[in-house]
């Protein structure tokens, strides 16, 4: 084989509310693009084979593992990473506060992913049973806290939002 011919493609997408364009190597995963081109390092590189959920991002309202999503597919999409949850003065969102309060974080490696899945769950506005929440959170692995505190944090926020809605 001759020297490989590298293939690039322009990708325009909305990331955390802002429209962005960059040239990406067609071999890049969305994790690669978000971390390397946009410095969004909340998107973690864990297993890189779709097992652990550390790389989770929200694409058009649904959570995906960005490690097994080609960067070129992001063209035209709306993407949210954990950085997008921050308030204008760096405030934490309700779900992030709940993670802190319930000690649902230790090393923090799995946390951005869990919080984005929690965001998708909470934004649905539905009330789920504990079993349903467990199933909805099952695409994430945590090596530190165990899952009870995480479940509690999500449930607490779900109930608080429900109460606030009246």
């Amino acid at each position: 084989m001759a020297e490989e011919m590298r293939q690039f493609r322009q990708v325009t997408c909305t990331i955390n509310g802002k429209k962005k364009t960059t040239m990406v190597d067609v071999r890049a995963s969305l994790t690669d693009m978000l971390r390397n081109d946009y410095r969004l390092t909340s998107v973690k590189k864990g297993c890189e084979v779709g097992e652990c959920g550390a790389c989770t991002v929200i694409i058009d309202g649904e959570c995906f593992d960005s490690c097994i999503y080609l960067a070129i597919w992001a063209d035209g999409k709306e993407i949210t990473t954990l950085e997008g949850l921050e308030g204008p003065n760096g405030e934490l969102s309700d779900i992030q506060k709940a993670f802190v309060e319930e000690t649902a974080i230790q090393c923090g490696f799995c946390t951005p992913g869990f919080i984005l899945t929690a965001k998708e769950i909470l934004d649905s506005g539905k009330l789920y049973t504990d079993d349903e929440l467990r199933k909805l959170l099952s695409g994430h692995l945590c090596r530190c806290t165990g899952y009870d505190n995480i479940l509690r944090a999500v449930k607490k926020t779900m109930l608080a939002r429900h109460k606030a809605r009246g």
């Binding site: 779709g50 097992e51 959570c63 593992d65 080609l70 199933k135 099952s138």
Partner: protein, 295 residues
């Protein structure tokens, strides 16, 4: 970075056919939840890909004029599960695909990938077999439709010729009207787990709910490819809805299935599962159909 030699992005189904003919070595990538894993593991490293992921025309569930249910091959598991047509007419399929991996895998994984990978453990497969689904294939010569059973040629091999791609999975009106079913996936864990064995049973009962007018028993990991327990079905058709029939199913299916030993489970465990899961899925299918098994 993935170890990929080149990617050709299709702009339409026609364009995909053209790209596949132009690059005979290239493999189709839909959601990539099989393909990208294989590339990472080195089993497909350095490959050429034709990406069809951008083809929205291949997404979505529709009811045709003839009341057949047409599922575009790129429809993701999460969208199939949430779809009102699926919920109303073929809920078992929604339930089955809702058992795939975890939520993020269900967001990216497609029903086309789940059938074209030719894998026996594919969670949609046994239920699609139980629904007598049809596979719509588009290629250089146009569209052809084949029964799902003949689509599978062997482990990991399906009936796709040069330049062809699967464009839809069809569940004909006659195969879901009046049928009720249930799918059971047996695995060591409740999530992020490939089925050790899976069984999907569909029944159609008589008006008085006492007789089995029709039964279809689909399996995953009971043979090298997904399959139907055809001999059992013939024997059971016309029998009473009873505990005796239930026991008969549990016994007869053992003559249909040919499971193997693997690192995941022994042949003996799988034989036991084939029998037990069929009985349990049958019982639940009957209950959903409004029937009752005494005892």
């Amino acid at each position: 970075m993935f170890d990929i030699k080149a990617i050709y992005e299709a702009s339409s189904v026609e364009d995909a056919v053209r790209l596949l003919l132009e690059h005979p070595e290239a493999k189709i990538i839909a959601g990539g939840s099989d393909v990208l894993i294989k590339i990472r593991e080195g089993r497909m490293a350095g490959c050429e890909l034709v990406s069809i992921y951008g083809l929205d025309e291949m997404r979505g569930v529709t009811m045709t004029e003839d009341k057949d249910i047409r599922i575009g091959s790129l429809t993701s598991f999460s969208h199939i599960y949430a779809d009102p047509i699926i919920r109303k007419h073929v809920p078992v399929l929604g339930e089955a695909v809702n058992m795939v991996g975890g939520p993020q895998i269900r967001a990216i994984g497609t029903i086309g990938g789940n059938t074209c990978n030719g894998v026996t453990s594919a969670d949609s497969a046994s239920t699609l077999f139980a629904y007598d689904a049809l596979i719509e294939i588009t290629g250089p010569e146009g569209v052809r439709v084949v029964p799902i059973e003949s689509f599978y040629l062997g482990a990991g091999r399906v009936d796709l010729r040069a330049g062809e791609l699967e464009t839809a999975v069809i569940i004909p009106k006659a195969s879901y009207t009046g049928y009720h079913g249930h799918y059971i996936k047996y695995g060591m864990r409740n999530a992020m787990e490939i089925a050790t064995t899976g069984c999907s049973v569909n029944v159609k009962l008589s008006r008085d709910k006492k007789t089995i007018r029709d039964i279809r028993i689909g399996y995953g990991v009971a043979a090298p490819v997904p399959m139907r327990a055809k001999k059992t079905e013939v024997e059971v058709r016309g029998k009473d809805v009873s505990e005796e029939t239930e026991k008969l199913i549990g016994k007869l299916v053992l003559e249909d299935v040919t499971p193997r030993d693997s690192w995941r489970a022994s042949k003996d465990l799988r034989l036991h599962l084939c029998s037990t899961l069929a009985v349990r899925a049958f019982r639940e299918a009957v209950r959903r159909a409004g029937g009752e098994i005494d005892g």
